[in-house]
């Protein structure tokens, strides 16, 4: 910043600015590509994604080393890689929204794109895509582990999980990630959203469990109101119609409703 930068070139310029071009609206796919970039271009975002890949490999390796090799099937690997993913994805989902407020980039984001709904929708598309990609990576790591195990013990690897179950697990993980996203929208603060998620994920199941042991009615009907309980059948193959209905109701209560409230608040709030 030396003084030499002060002068401006004395070029001849027209007195009046040329007629302004009419600008096309910003297309949605451009917003998605920008949000995608924003997810990876900071250290926290980048390392969360690296962590997903690294933990998938570590979990697979650990299963291979410490597991009882003769009984290992794809199910063991899939659940081992699934655990870290189910913890990290909601955090990623929350940060994608809350960091705009925490780092105050919302100021720039919403002056460039005043339609907040479109920005949030672009974030949602990005988050769901990143979530699916991470799950593909994790499930692939598990599959490699299962193949290796087969090679080590010398007979065909055991594929004990159906496609249907895999898709159900993907659904559960996506719901978890969207819970993070919802909390990001609702709190618009990274610590708030992350603490909120862990209260939901770690404290509420305990409360629900305690309630169920004390009260028979809750034990029988918890799945309608408790998203965790409602998600459990999805880890197995046969999900009944009633169980799907319970998942739907619980998702409505825990995800859709708060998300709607959060979105409404976000649209009307002041961006500071």
């Amino acid at each position: 910043m030396s003084a030499t930068t002060v002068t401006s070139q004395p070029t001849a310029r027209p007195a009046v600015r040329r007629e302004r071009a009419v600008h096309a609206p910003i297309p949605f796919r451009r917003l998605v590509s920008v949000e995608w970039r924003k997810m990876f271009d900071t250290r926290s975002g980048f390392w969360l994604l690296v962590a997903i890949a690294a933990l998938a490999v570590i979990a697979t390796g650990a299963t291979l080393v410490f597991g009882n090799r003769d009984n290992l099937g794809y199910g063991s690997f899939a659940s081992a890689v699934g655990v870290p993913i189910t913890v990290i994805l909601p955090v990623l989902g929350a940060l994608s929204v809350s960091s705009e407020w925490g780092q105050r980039t919302a100021l720039t984001t919403f002056t460039l794109v005043p339609s907040r709904g479109r920005v949030i929708a672009a974030k949602l598309v990005t988050v769901v895509t990143v979530g699916l990609a991470s799950l593909v990576v994790a499930l692939a790591a598990g599959a490699v582990g299962n193949l290796l195990n087969g090679a080590i013990i010398g007979h065909a690897p055991l594929w004990d999980v159906s496609w249907r179950t895999i898709l159900q697990i993907v659904l559960v993980d996506q719901i978890g990630m969207l819970m993070g996203f919802m909390l990001g929208v609702l709190f618009r603060s990274s610590p708030g959203a992350i603490v909120g998620y862990f209260v939901y994920a770690l404290v509420l199941p305990g409360v629900s469990g305690a309630l169920a042991s004390a009260q028979q009615w809750w034990a029988d009907h918890a799945a309608w109101f408790d998203l965790r309980t409602a998600s459990i059948p999805l880890y197995d193959s046969g999900v009944t119609g009633q169980e799907w209905a319970q998942l739907g109701v619980a998702t409505l209560i825990w995800l859709v409703l708060p998300l709607a409230i959060g979105l409404r608040m976000l649209m009307r709030s002041e961006v500071k």
Binding site: S2, S8, I26, D41, T105, T111, P114
Partner: protein, 308 residues
């Protein structure tokens, strides 16, 4: 062109912006002057759709900001240079903005060059930027889309004197090109040197507006003596309209020779006698500032507000 019409923003029991009306015209730099907390920032935030107004309207290029199809291409906005992700590099901040607006990649380099951020500086994370560098980055982001309107909140904050000069030239050039510039400041001197038109705001209300020349012309004579009270009494005794100003100054509504004569007749030795260019504006501004002043300034330190 920015047209603010009866703009009001009320929070529960506090009115941040109270019936503000003014127009910032193309080809001119409009200075938005007021002490801290006067409502400048809130007004600007309403202009760009970040804060919903309670009533009134703000039109930019004949439309509400939120109705602009690609706002960055028409309005350059810098509200807070520190509101950037600390973990992104300067170049990345501009790249994201350029992509959002649909601009080619080389536009980022052009703007970095325009605000004199070096290749090396652009590659550092914003966390390591000085406030001056953040301001430059913010200006680069505002100019990125080649807009015809600029809305800048305290853009000279943190710039060194050379930087302030640079910004002044940049905004002058932008306005001479037919662009509209609205910039806020709490420093009278800063606005004096940059602006063509001035809007003074205090406690949410517009207290004065006009061209700089109009506002500065209303002055009279500024006079100073060792004993201001005696001087004031002497001038009033001579039938002149005079009042005490800040920092021991006496302001008289009379020509220089008349005031000098009156003091001479009373046997008072003057230490200063001159036309009070802008003193009226400064007085008004100080009066405004005094109301919301948290730390009471000692007399004499008041006229050096621009030494940032």
């Amino acid at each position: 062109m920015i047209e603010i019409q009866s703009l009001t923003k009320r929070y529960r029991d506090f009115t941040a912006v109270d019936d503000v009306t003014f127009t910032a015209r193309p080809g001119r730099v409009t200075g938005f002057l007021g002490p801290n907390g006067a409502g400048k920032t809130t007004s600007m935030r309403v202009m760009v759709g970040l804060t919903p107004p309670t009533s009134g309207s703000a039109l930019i290029l004949d439309r509400a900001f939120t109705d602009l199809p690609n706002p960055g291409r028409e309005v350059g906005v810098l509200l807070d240079a520190s509101a950037q992700h600390a973990g992104r590099t300067g170049r990345e901040v501009l790249t994201i903005a350029a992509r959002t607006m649909g601009l080619p990649r080389q536009r980022v380099d052009e703007m970095l060059d325009r605000v004199s951020l070096t290749e090396h500086e652009a590659g550092r994370r914003v966390r390591n930027y000085s406030l001056g560098m953040r301001q430059r980055l913010g200006i680069a982001a505002a100019l990125l889309g080649d807009p015809s309107v600029l809305i800048l909140d305290e853009p000279a904050n943190g710039l060194d004197p050379a930087g302030i000069r640079w910004m002044r030239d940049l905004l002058r050039e932008f306005a001479d090109d037919g662009g509209t510039v609205l910039l806020s400041s709490h420093l009278l001197h800063e606005i004096e040197v940059i602006a063509d038109d001035i809007v003074v705001i205090g406690n949410g209300r517009v207290v004065a507006q006009g061209t700089k020349d109009e506002l500065l012309a209303a002055g009279g004579t500024l006079v100073r003596a060792a004993d201001p009270a005696a001087l004031l009494a002497a001038l009033q005794a001579a039938g002149l309209k005079a009042r005490a100003g800040a920092a021991g100054v006496v302001l008289a509504e009379a020509e220089l020779p008349v005031v000098g004569r009156a003091a001479f007749d009373a046997g008072i030795a003057l230490t200063e006698l001159r036309a009070a260019d802008g003193a009226g504006l400064e007085e008004m501004f100080l009066a405004l500032t005094a109301e919301s002043q948290r730390d009471h300034l000692s007399p004499g330190s008041t006229s050096n507000g621009a030494a940032a």
